[in-house]
Symmetry: C2
Subunit: 192 residues, 2 copies
Amino acid sequence: MPLTQEHKLRSRKKILDSALKLFIAHGFNNVSIDKIMQNVNMTRGAFYAHFSSKSELYKESILNAAFNTDLAQMKPENISEQEWIKKLLKGYLNSDHISLKSKPCPLAFLSTDVAVSKPEVRKAFTTTYINMNKTILNYTKTYSSCEEEQTLAITAMIIGGAAIARAINDEETRSKLLKSCRETSQKILDGA
Amino acid sequence: MPLTQEHKLRSRKKILDSALKLFIAHGFNNVSIDKIMQNVNMTRGAFYAHFSSKSELYKESILNAAFNTDLAQMKPENISEQEWIKKLLKGYLNSDHISLKSKPCPLAFLSTDVAVSKPEVRKAFTTTYINMNKTILNYTKTYSSCEEEQTLAITAMIIGGAAIARAINDEETRSKLLKSCRETSQKILDGA
DNA sequence: GTCTATAGAAAGATAGAC
DNA sequence: GTCTATCTTTCTATAGAC
């Protein structure tokens, strides 16, 4: 790969990571292209060498985020499917995730913005959501009678739980909510 | 009550309803004060006789919406608590609710916007969320061993389910998701 | 590929007339 | 209480130099 192209790809990746972080932290409309580019030490002009519009950036940053989540990584070989899912759930319904200290789930923190976005953005969100459920089902079906209905309900619960936990500003309610979602989702899986 | 004050209250209520509808349909930042006022046949100047800022309007429209939900109304005397909850769940996880044809739940359709809003807005959201759980628990505890943990998990599931259903643009996935949440939430309540 | 400069549009909030 | 007019800021996107 030529040096210039590799350089371009590195720039692109930096822009995508910066964009997602800012979109989640402040909302799509509250983040200007200027701020995103300043965050990676570039200027607004350079942006359009990578993306044709802010909306395209949004779509790409969602796909990039989905690719980076813990769930999208390979399961470590030394632990079981059941342990892996338990670990993932724990990491998801965790205050570090809610406060964006760990890799954020675009499904939990962007839903409102996505609902009013262009079709291409909603498509990226939809694909990410479907893949999340498929991946979880592939793990859970190896150790429980879990079917699609259960994974759809569980992902709704954990995505909803994370979204609410981030929106509310009462710490006691937040930790009760996260605990309830952790325990109830685990129960559904174990009992299924 | 003087005629002018009654008139003012009527105007205020119209603005609040218009605002909520538009905020949910297009997102907080995509709705200008101009559009909200045009929607009730008034101009931007009149807005500031009712609210000091767009953010205050947001807070008040969330509280107004919470007051108007089906859950906030009295249970009809001729049906049981269990039937009432079942009916409410059905109405919530319903395509009419997702497409905003029935009275929308601010918790499901505003979470991302609220998460990046001013403390007063998040406070209104938090109070609404806590009240939703209290109200549900008051009904469910009359017929099942349902406790706070179950209501927190169930509201996370239905709020999350509604939020995702609105964000995705695949009709088949949407109806599968809503059905799963309806059935699983019902099972948790009946089994609790 | 990245920069600076700028065009063009839109928004929140205020001032003053009626 | 509601109107019109305006100030001021901010944003997306483009143009052209290097």
